[in-house]
Symmetry: C2
């Protein structure tokens, strides 16, 4: 990882120890796919960042400066670019400073490994709290995602379904059973009210009766940039989905701005074969954004 | 503020830029009152920290080392000592590292100004989401508190009650009315389900029919160290409280481990005179913990 840290308009050596991002998660971030030194979805990422900053009344760095520094850091490379913006330094206590100066970090990371052709998912036990004031934003209060992602390791077997997915029973599986089960790629999260919302680090789309649906993100969840592109491309409908909606869907995929469109092959005991509509959408995304072309991974 | 930063057992110059506390609020903190170079509630603070670390599966520094460094930083002084512990450095992504090494910060701050004799409270519009997995912990996902505390400034007038406390109408108050209203010291927060939970940076106790009650913190809110002392001292009952319970209480006070017991004189239009039971409890606290004696402030 290469990283640059800024306070306001100045490059600095380190994050100040009284930074409110560190103290309270008082910040926002964007994780972007880069290609040949640029970020084709930059405007969409910045728009979401600006919407979050407006909701949190958080100061942002100048966009032109941030983009120039981002491109300088990329230096013609692809991979993943992360931008983290916090409310900057502040005194002890929750009251935001009157004139906050943002701390912001740019970091460059390798492109993700090419995923298997169809993801294997599990249901997470960790639920997302319902908080309309923060819903949709990619803010830095992410303990729910951390807890959910910690429910399984890369070698954990798939479990059967929402009703049986308790850590205590999983640890009792005999080794032979573990070895014969596929490893888990991602976990689906529900809200505390039972609605299916997203994966730990991706949005969700399902095909029902030939139409695309995706969970609404007005109560919890993140309004993903790739999700936004797909809604525009497919005319998908946002709404409240339950477990049965997903498990009986004709096709399921995850998406995010780093990995693009990720077809789902299995969720617990339910399996899906590759669906031509998902493949067609992947082709369309790659045509719009070459970073997501198969040869780019 | 003086501050020291550690990674594992080593003092370092700065917080690493890939720290998970910064990225996700993946950490815990304790804010402690110091007196003559020591922290009399250290065991209670460490117990809460350890309970939170167990719930989040977060590594902690060695307690003896942390306490020795804390006392070295205090150097015989009083004031406020903050300890922040994060899951340390990690890669991009929510999955916790297999062998996390905690980053921890100790900082020393001046003692708080002595509060007025009776606090003036308002009702916050920002609600607390219901999340039993994180309830009770003093974790670093604090955007709800930041938003709630940002609802008023030190010069904002008291508003009438939950039903009328909207930012839009407040900004329309004529200046004369603002000037005649008392400034606000703290705000009370309710959960998204309507229960009264806490103030932005303090727990709440109310007296009803001669008995002390405090909101349960099993769904949201923080299990405060001073709250714990008061429950032991008074035999207070935990439960679900609504707005009317508070507004019709015989006495109301806030408490936290930095400021001790803070009698409430006003909430919106409701006022309370000083209550002898609150004064008696303040005397008892000061006897147990001299940092909270009036002459210590």
């Amino acid at each position: 990882m290469s990283v640059r840290v800024f306070v306001g308009t100045h490059a600095v050596d380190a994050v100040p120890p009284d930074d409110r991002g560190l103290a309270y998660g008082d910040g926002l971030f964007e994780t972007m796919r880069a290609h040949r030194g640029g970020v084709s979805w930059w405007p969409a990422h910045w728009a979401r960042l600006a919407a979050g900053a407006a909701r949190l009344k958080l100061p942002l760095p100048d966009e032109a400066l941030a983009r120039a520094e981002a491109e300088a850091l990329l230096g013609g490379r692809g991979g993943v670019l992360k931008l983290l913006v916090t409310r900057g330094s502040g005194g002890r206590g929750y009251a935001p400073p009157d004139a906050a100066v943002p701390t912001w970090l740019l970091s460059h990371h390798p492109a993700p490994a090419r995923p298997r052709d169809g993801l294997v998912l599990r249901w997470c036990d960790t639920r997302l709290a319902v908080q309309p004031l923060l819903a949709g934003l990619k803010h830095c209060n992410r303990l729910e995602q951390v807890l959910a992602r910690a429910e399984w390791t890369a070698s954990a077997p798939v479990v059967d379904g929402p009703g049986t997915a308790t850590p205590d029973t999983r640890t009792l599986h005999p080794d032979a059973e573990v070895a014969s089960s596929p490893t888990v790629d991602e976990g689906l999260m529900r809200s505390t009210e039972g609605d299916v919302v997203c994966a730990t680090a991706a949005n969700l789309f399902i095909l029902r009766h030939g139409r695309w649906l995706t969970p609404a993100v007005d109560r919890c969840g993140i309004a993903g940039v790739c999700r936004g592109w797909i809604m525009g491309a497919t005319g998908a409908t946002q709404g409240r989905l339950d477990v049965a909606d997903v498990e009986t869907a004709e096709a399921v995929f995850l998406c995010n701005a780093v990995r693009g469109i990720l077809p789902v092959a299995r969720l617990g005991e339910r399996t899906w074969v590759a669906h031509p509509l998902v493949a067609a959408l992947q082709v369309r995304l790659a045509a719009d954004h070459p970073a997501f072309a198969p040869e780019s991974s």
